[in-house]
């Protein structure tokens, strides 16, 4: 049986969407308060992490 290659881009985006979905869910349930002024920087950080670690995982696999 051959070695499977992990698709790092899908993995990174998947983790990002899970984190974003959990944050939105907690906001809707009034557990946390997602303020507009924090959203854009938070997304930039998240997408930056996806680009960084997606590429790193690609080279490692």
């Amino acid at each position: 049986m051959g070695e499977r290659r992990m698709n790092s881009v899908s993995l990174a985006w998947g983790l990002f969407f899970i984190a974003a979905g959990v944050a939105f869910l907690l906001d809707r349930l009034n557990v946390i308060d997602l303020r507009p002024e924090y959203l854009l920087p938070a997304f930039l950080i998240g997408i930056g992490l996806v680009v960084l670690f997606g590429g790193r995982l690609s080279r490692a696999s």
């Binding site: 051959g2 698709n7 790092s8 899908s10 998947g14 969407f17 939105f24 997602l34």
Partner: protein
């Protein structure tokens, strides 16, 4: 010169399509929410969007092990994320009528506590009300989901304004603010007891407050 080593054989495990995984996940979540609702557990409708985004994320993580590119799912996730982010920033209360409305109360007793419109232009002209007999801390709310709010206050009256626009602009006695999540609060001009308290807001659009 020896030939290079042959490439490893392709995996023999059949890779499921991520779309099928996500569809299955969405059906599973929807079914579970429906069942819980039927059993009397209150499920708020606004949790469906974030739940769908989590399912897309789980589908991508699960599909990543088969090494396939999942551009379609990534695009779907990005669209969902943008829609949820806009929904977080912008509250568009679509309650009330649709169209253009103008209200011109002539006495303080004719003034409603709130005026609302779903979509359109809403003008509340209070300029015909005499300044003198204003009751202590008269409060008026004016709200439009999508469109423009114009409130014309009696000339010389003392007004404390709280103006909000999810996306758009507020112009309160000449002070302009614009962009996302605009939230402007003016102080009472004279600080007396006989003041108007005005809450004017729009989800997407423009709020203008001026003297008549």
């Amino acid at each position: 010169m020896s030939a290079s080593a042959p490439p490893p054989p392709a995996t023999t495990e059949r890779a499921p399509r991520a779309g099928r995984l996500v569809l299955g996940g969405v059906l599973l979540v929807l079914g579970a929410l429906w069942l819980l609702d039927t059993l009397g557990v209150e499920i708020p409708g606004h949790v469906v969007g974030p739940s769908a985004l989590i399912v897309v994320g789980v589908g991508l993580v699960a599909a990543a092990r088969w090494g396939r590119s999942q551009a379609g799912l990534i695009v779907l996730g990005v669209i969902l994320t943008v829609v949820l982010a806009v929904g977080t920033v912008v509250s568009v209360p679509l309650t009330g009528e649709v169209g253009d409305r103008i209200y011109r109360p002539r006495t303080i007793d004719d003034v409603r506590a709130s005026y609302a419109l779903s979509v359109g232009n809403l003008t509340v002209d209070l300029s015909g009300i005499p300044v003198g007999p204003t009751p202590e801390r008269a409060r008026v709310g004016v709200r439009v989901g999508l469109g423009q709010v114009v409130v014309i206050m009696p000339a010389g009256s003392d007004v404390a304004v709280h103006a909000k626009a999810g996306i758009g602009q507020t112009v309160v006695f000449g002070v302009e603010e614009g962009g996302f999540g605009v939230d402007y609060q003016s102080p009472s001009h004279m600080g007396g007891l006989n003041i108007w308290r005005l809450d004017a807001s729009t989800g997407i659009g423009r709020v203008e407050v001026r003297y008549g």
